[in-house]
Symmetry: C2
Subunit: 453 residues, 2 copies
């Protein structure tokens, strides 16, 4: 194939299984612990929140899980997603490197999140769930779940951080188009919300508070369950369709990656792209460097510790062993809202500890500089989150320019930036700032992390 720009797969070539990396690792990840007893939790502990099919996927030791036909039918609305060769960016950088990017912004919600919201909605519908609750910040996850629940005829109720609800009304409208109901959080719909509003009627909310409200609403109604958009094993599992497709697409043009870079917030986009390639690496079939790129303002891998900690700010979830900045750490308000998380997926953290991936942190002005270069050459305007992956790919490509190496660089463009014009406006008008590492704040938050015997 000469001078192609993108490598497509036909629907008939779409992978029909998700990949579970755990059986292929030299040792399994440490189990989650009950927050009270500090004993490993079992499937029944999670039953009030999730349907049993998802709980079994969370703990499965099978290497592959079949994707149900009803999920494949909805995936086909946008999948397989294209793999692009960034020829015009390569020319703009004058690099001998080949840059490939897997583009997930073609989904109806505009990001990789529907890869997991769709199966989560499906398994809930199959189990008789009438409604799913969730939290959302800027709205990427909430809109993805709203789209997915509409496909299976179940209700969706979203608690959106009040500050975002007020500042970014368009994502709320998107959720409502797909039929979801959206509350600003804290809300008067839950005990948690009402108690916080009683103290401060103008509470701007946080992701931690919104999780508390969504969980409270779910556990009070047997027909209602809760859904999470990252961090958990079953979420990472669903995202592996990204990497499975990319493997097939690169094989079509006879390339294997020398470097794979992915942005990391909770870890699901990175895991989705990299785990299938890591399987090939562990099997000795290729040897890519696999690199996480995190925001300098929320550097859980590069500045955090590998400890048991809570997944939420309020300390209500099970304890999971992960790289953490401390569950009370609130990252600075960078525009990549989807990467502002104090921890890292336990499975990504475990793989990092095993030395199977490396990590770097990049500040947001370098990211947006790269994003403008990308938009001018490749056309697509990236979401703030994947600008981190783009900036890292550009760094690597410029090193190749210096060294003359013709490396194959693979990354994921996990979403478009159509709803993020305010971030670009801040950058173009010179108002965007980088943030310090806040070592003292991280140390203060780490002091509050529970000590597990």
């Amino acid at each position: 194939m000469a001078e192609y720009s993108k490598i497509l797969l036909d629907e008939s070539e779409m992978p029909t299984q998700w990949y579970n990396i755990i059986p292929d690792l030299p040792e399994p990840p440490p189990p989650p612990l009950h927050p009270g007893t500090h004993e490993p939790i079992g499937p029944d502990d999670l039953a009030p929140l999730f349907p049993m099919d998802l709980i079994m996927q969370e703990v499965t030791t099978d290497s592959y899980v079949d994707i149900p036909g009803e999920v494949l039918d909805v995936y086909k609305l946008w999948r397989p997603s294209p793999l692009y060769r960034a020829r015009r960016l390569e020319k703009a950088l004058d690099t001998p490197a080949k840059i490939y990017y897997k583009y997930e912004g073609v989904s109806p919600a505009g990001s990789h999140k529907p890869n997991t919201s769709v199966p989560q909605a499906y398994y809930n519908a199959k189990a008789g769930t009438k409604k799913i609750t969730t939290e959302t910040g800027a709205g990427q996850w909430g809109s993805s779940l709203a789209f997915a629940t509409a496909q299976y005829g179940i209700e969706c109720e979203v608690w959106q951080v009040a500050a975002s609800y007020a500042q970014k009304p368009y994502r709320k409208t998107m959720m409502e188009i797909w039929g979801a109901s959206v509350h600003p959080s804290p809300s008067d719909q839950t005990e948690a919300g009402r108690s916080l509003l009683a103290q401060d009627p103008d509470n701007p909310g946080s992701l931690g508070i919104a999780i508390s409200e969504a969980v409270e609403a779910a556990v009070q109604d047997p027909d209602t369950k809760y859904a999470l958009g990252s961090v958990l094993n079953h979420v990472l599992l669903h995202q592996t369709i990204i990497g499975e497709e990319a493997l097939l697409q690169l094989a079509k043009v006879g390339d294997t990656p020398d470097v794979l870079v992915g942005c990391t917030g909770g870890g699901s986009n990175f895991a989705g792209l990299s785990f299938p390639f890591l399987r090939e690496k562990l099997a000795g079939k290729m040897n890519p460097t696999i690199r996480c790129v995190e925001p300098a303002a929320s550097p859980s891998l590069t500045k955090g510790e590998y400890r048991y900690d809570f997944g939420d700010t309020m300390g209500m979830t099970p304890l999971v062993k992960m790289h953490t900045l401390g569950h009370s750490f609130i990252p600075d308000p960078i525009h990549a809202g989807g990467l502002r998380y104090h921890g890292m997926a336990p499975l990504v953290s475990h793989i990092y500890e095993l030395g199977l991936c490396e990590a770097i942190a990049i500040g947001q002005t370098e990211c947006f500089t790269g994003a403008i270069q990308f938009a001018k050459s490749e056309g697509i305007v990236p979401a703030p989150e994947p600008t981190h992956a783009i900036a890292a790919a550009i760094r690597e490509a410029l090193e190749c320019k210096e060294s003359g190496e013709e490396k194959v660089i693979l990354t994921a463009l996990c979403g478009h930036g159509h709803m993020d014009m305010a971030a670009y406006d801040a950058f173009l008008s010179g108002e965007m700032v980088d943030y310090d590492h806040r070592d003292a704040d991280i140390a203060e938050a780490m002091a509050k992390v529970p000590v597990i015997a």
Copy 2:
């Protein structure tokens, strides 16, 4: 192929020629006239505004025009675009009809407009043009031209209607990401703008004023040209790649359309989809009903007259024979800003006069009702303009439900609605209204149309 959702073409299958329908028509369209002499204008009259390659395409009698390799390279950033079978919408409507839609929202700017902005930028760059000026309303065309000029390293200067500039700042940001400079119109950059601001510093602007400013800036500098996003023959020519691809895609699944519906504002999206199918119809190879769908608030085909009239509100352009509501008619403020035009492309008007297509008008609340049904079943949130095509396709599919006919319906989803959430918010909150036909206003505007001997 069983249960496919979309039919893809590989880049190697992408058409390499645009189709010019004029030689295939029983008679050619009437020529444009000089506004002063009322004599047919020649290529030289257009030379101050457009490069000669585009002028020759405007008047060509060739049936096919080769797409330059440098244009194909940029088209490949998103083309070929997918053709979807709307299986989930069909199920939701419980119709025996098959509904296909060609999706143009995959372009970087999110609509079909880059199909022509890219070749327009290319031919300008080839002719040594340093800068292209244009007008834009909500910003779809301006952002498409900004994207295209970035690909060929030339400048882009956009005059955006002041009311839109203030109310919809995100499209402006999008244009700036791709490097364009954007002025609210009227502006202090031109004589026309300054004279209007002197009369009223708060003038909200109009598309007609913005055209005047962009044209004034272009004619004053020999290195600057002007670009138009619809109406002209060469624009419609470039858009035929939509229909050429759709023909190939439908052939892959062995279907031919019984009904083809497309929304019409200036006419380029409709022409792009329908002209290649009209060629097949004229050749006796298929026999689809071809239907224009216009907004009830701007019904140039269903309520206008076929007359020589000006293309712009101020009366500065050549006189073209078209269906018009009168160049001074200002359509009501429907959300489909791209369809708020007093006239219709001369070529589409001519074909309508020849009886080769029919037309209906639909109010915006019916359109948005259909759009919500579409988004809930097919996922994609449509732009306000193609909601007219969707509403017409749904009407046809429901008639099939009544009659039991298994018709094949083809339409074009010419853009996504990610930048149009305010319109959806108005609909969902019950604030959207339909508009009366305004027959008296149309009659008043028609009285100002020049009488040509």
